[in-house]
Amino acid sequence: MLCRVCRRLPAPAVTLPSFLVMAVFTQLTRMRPWRWFICRKQFLSSFGRHGSIRRNMASDRAASQATRFDFLVIGGGSGGLAGARRASELGAATAVIESHKLGGTCVNVGCVPKKVMWNAAVHAEYLHDHSDYGFDTGNVRFSWETLKAKRDAYVSHLNRIYRNNLDKAKIQTIQGHARFTNDPEPTVEVDGRKYTAPHILIATGGLPSVLSDAEIPGANLGITSDGFFELETLPKRTVIVGAGYIAVEMAGILSTLGSKTSLIIRQTGVLRNFDSLISANCTKELQNTGIDLWKNSQVKSVCKSEKGLEVTIVTKDPEKKNDEEKTSTIQEVDCLLWAIGRQPNISGLNIGAMGVDTDERGHIIVDEFQNTSRPGIYAVGDVCGKALLTPVAIAAGRKLAHRLFEGKKDSKLDYSCIPTVVFSHPPIGTVGLTEEEAIKSRGKENVKIYKTSFTPMYHAITSRKSQCIMKLVCVGKEEKVVGLHMQGLGCDEMLQGFSVAIKMGATKADFDKTIAIHPTSSEEFVTMR
């Protein structure tokens, strides 16, 4: 293990740029004496090899000049950066290849700017409630431009922080698109330069799925969540297609900020893979907050007119077999947003040639240790298609680094009980099994459900109201809590602590034993009957 690490030192130091010479030097000086000894042996012998490399240069110049690292990470998003930084801390010479901005989806077109927008929308809700709480705010106008400028500035600030973090950790950042070469040893090429390492991590993440004009005429007149973050003005009239959490979040933000928003869903409810209580409640809340929900509907075509887009929609209720398909058109749409799912970002990587297996949708198949089917190549994060969440990618990247560079053989991420929050209005929190999943795996007779719903005290004096709903899914005689689901004010911040307890194996009795914090909404979980 240690020898291998050392052997990957950039051997032909004389032909390398000076920063790499420095890197070698730092690497050597950072090493413990015994490692240094082995390395020196390796280093000296490499001069011998160097001669032979020279001789072969004419025939295979590029391959021989592949820059060597201990750990090569493709993708500078949450998972890649976390894995790279941890590997570097553990002494591995590490490089990160990124074609775009550092930080990946989360920082640039995901969690962070999304939550900034959500916060702005929450202020809109507050503004409704201000007068009930005694504030006279008079006329209020919203400037999307101000918000976008602030948001962009913050994202750029984060980009810089990530860059600094990499530099501080002496991780080389390689700008450009990575492509696996046909070399016998896994090697990637970026802008004509080759890089290799005994351990290569694919952390290229995902992209919003798009439809072609062949599938839906005019589909490309719409944008995706990536485009949402480029919008320079608040759309007056928005149509969002999709029923997943991204569609729900985007619809909530745009509608709350003042865009007349329609949400087109294929069936009757949003978030259909969530617990049925959440799915039903969220669907209801969307409608309550003024979103124009089109159930059993699909976009048939989109065309552009002088006044904006015309989105043609077909609606057919499958329950009513005799009903005719109904075709309607939404006029003057200035933002059509497809939120129909995400796909792995693997185009141009040439992973097919590497013997890295993928599933039918292109996700890289990994085992529980993030190993792909090709030894020495690993994958973490959204590109694997499982639990598409920043903290999951971060944890998986770090665990992998500990396994590869600290010899922690069992270091892997436990994918059970991963909590997640949807920043809808109000937010949703969920961890563990849904009621439906619990019944399926444990049998209806072994599942006990506790539920409650109430109006949070915040709304006690507001004319605007929203409910808070909560559900515990318990199994077995001991009533082990295997699922917790909620939607309501503050649920985003409530979930984390409960997810610790549930991961610890908490039972309903443990909930009952816990003393409440008054007055909060979360106390309802420990006083449920």
């Binding site: 409530m494 997810s499 979980f525």
Partner: protein, 511 residues
């Protein structure tokens, strides 16, 4: 049979008396009489539904200023509920400033109207008063608007407002009269010109420029919300803030308040309060560090110098119910029994009991079940989480760092900590120097968590789940093995990884 099911602790104490009283059921007007219709009393009386006859006596003595309220006790009328609502209003004061950074153009100046807010708050409180009345009725608990006192161990005397006396007999009596704010009677003008939190929540008019004397959580919460709605507010602190709480956290809470405009007069003690002809209150105080004397005028002076148990009018001394001489609170056994058989007490009036609604409610319910022979379960007063609703909320469970050091030794604890920046603060360009998390663990072995402290937005909502993990015996690795929820403040708790021992910078950077 039920009797045998009860805990042994009870048998030991009341063995000789217990059996006869049981046989005498029917001799008394009630199985249970509860004196005090606050959180604990209502919970106890409503829970006692096992075919029992129950009455609850509630009576509110008006404050010096004449403020009075309805059923439900401190929490509903002059505590948790109105406080949190006004705290919410105060958060809006800050939110309005944030909103501008988020692109909302709000015409200045924004005014806050005390009367509008209080109307909403008081309407809600009245609806809760009514709700409690209805619930008592539904549960067939007799509600009596009497001021109760003890005659003997089975007899309670009820006094109406008009002075009419009623005698009630009961097999068991539970005293849950709670506490009321204290006045510093040695300061001239304090009682005549000052108010307490009991008045604060029923003021018809804005208190205006206010001096808050005291540094308990009540004082800081009140000062915090008054500042938040735009009032000139000063807190006068004799020694330290939030005594009993982790002092590093207390410092962060008061630092934040100072940053957001609350003034502090540290190490100062008021000397006298005079009413000027203009109606303003002139307060004279001494700076205990310099010995210098200072004066300023205020519209209101709020005394938040502690709370005293409501034991005086109960006639406890006659019966020999043992009180703690210093605090005046009732000395209780683990099963809430007093030194006199058949008489129990719980809530704020109990010596050493946390002055918190949820503990009173839970203790009340458990006592009712035990008295009815339905259960032997005792109240566990450990692991009680709490949240202080200051402008920067502070939630905690378990030991403070000082207490952990005292009990385990400085070298045997490991403190993981983090200074984090809530995402909502970034665009709003707010300083987050006081947003901090501290997880106090045992240093060796499995690093069991001894205390968990959090300052930041929504601390109450964040803390409840962690309190449950704490109750389940969470260790540091339980935290670090839990996947975070991004982007939230709560995720920073499971991400803590810098120890105080390491001396490294605990500022969180990036995701």
């Amino acid at each position: 049979m039920a009797a045998l099911c009860r805990g042994r602790h009870r048998w030991k104490k009341t063995n000789c008396l217990y059996v006869p009283t049981r046989n005498l059921t029917g001799k008394y007007d009630y199985d249970l009489v509860v004196i005090g219709g606050g959180s604990g009393g209502l919970a106890c009386s409503k829970e006692a539904q096992f075919g029992q006859k129950v009455a609850v006596l509630d009576y509110v003595d008006p404050t010096v200023k004449g403020t009075k309220w309805g059923l439900g006790g401190t929490c509903v009328n002059v505590g948790c509920i109105p406080k949190k609502l006004i705290h919410q209003a105060a958060l809006f004061g800050t939110a309005l400033k944030d909103a501008k950074k988020y692109g909302w153009q709000i015409s200045e100046p924004v005014c806050h109207d005390w009367a509008t807010m209080m109307e909403g708050v008081q309407n809600h409180v009245r609806s809760l008063n009514w709700g409690h009345r209805v619930q008592l009725q539904d549960k067939k608990v007799k509600y009596l608007n009497f001021k109760g006192s003890l005659v003997d161990e089975h007899t309670v005397k009820g006094l109406t407002k008009a002075g009419k006396e009623t005698i009630l007999t009961a097999k068991n009596i539970v005293i849950v009269t709670g506490g009321r704010p204290k006045y510093p009677t040695n300061i001239p003008g304090a009682v005549e010109h000052g108010i307490t939190s009991d008045d604060m929540f029923w003021l018809k008019k804005s208190p205006g420029k206010t001096l808050v004397v005291g540094a308990s959580y009540v004082a800081l919460e009140c000062a915090g919300f008054l500042t938040g709605i735009g009032l000139d507010t000063t807190v006068m602190v004799r020694s330290i803030a939030l005594r009993g709480f982790d002092q590093q956290m207390a410092g962060l809470v008061t630092d934040y308040m100072e940053t957001y405009g609350t003034k502090f007069a540290w190490k100062c003690v008021p000397k006298r309060v005079d009413k000027l002809s203009s109606g303003a209150l002139q307060v004279t105080w001494t700076d205990t560090q310099t010995g210098g004397e200072h004066q300023d005028t205020y519209d209101s002076v709020l005394w938040a110098v502690g709370r005293a148990p409501e034991t005086k009018a109960l006639g406890l001394d006659k019966l020999g119910v043992k009180l703690n001489q210093e605090t005046g609170k009732i000395v209780l056994a683990t099963d809430e029994s007093t030194s006199v058989p058949n008489i129990y007490a719980l809530g704020d009036i109990g010596e050493g009991r946390p002055e918190l609604t949820p503990t009173a409610i839970k203790a009340g319910k458990l006592l009712a079940r035990r008295l009815a022979g339905q259960s032997a379960e005792l109240m566990n007063y450990d692991n009680v989480p709490t949240t202080v609703f200051t402008p920067l909320e502070y939630g905690c469970v378990g030991l403070s760092e000082e207490e952990a050091e005292k009990r385990h030794g400085k070298d045997n604890i490991e403190v993981y900590h983090a200074f984090y920046k809530p995402l909502e603060f970034t665009v709003a360009e707010r300083d987050a120097s006081q947003c901090y998390i501290k997880v106090v663990c045992k240093r060796f072995g499995d690093q069991t968590i001894l205390g968990l402290h959090f300052t930041g937005p929504n601390a109450g909502e964040v803390m409840q789940g962690f309190a449950m993990g704490f109750q389940c015996g969470a260790t540091y690795s339980h935290l670090s093995q839990t996947v975070g929820i991004h982007p939230t403040c709560a995720e920073e708790v499971v991400k803590v990884n810098i120890t105080k021992h390491s001396g490294l910078d605990a500022t969180v950077t990036g995701c």
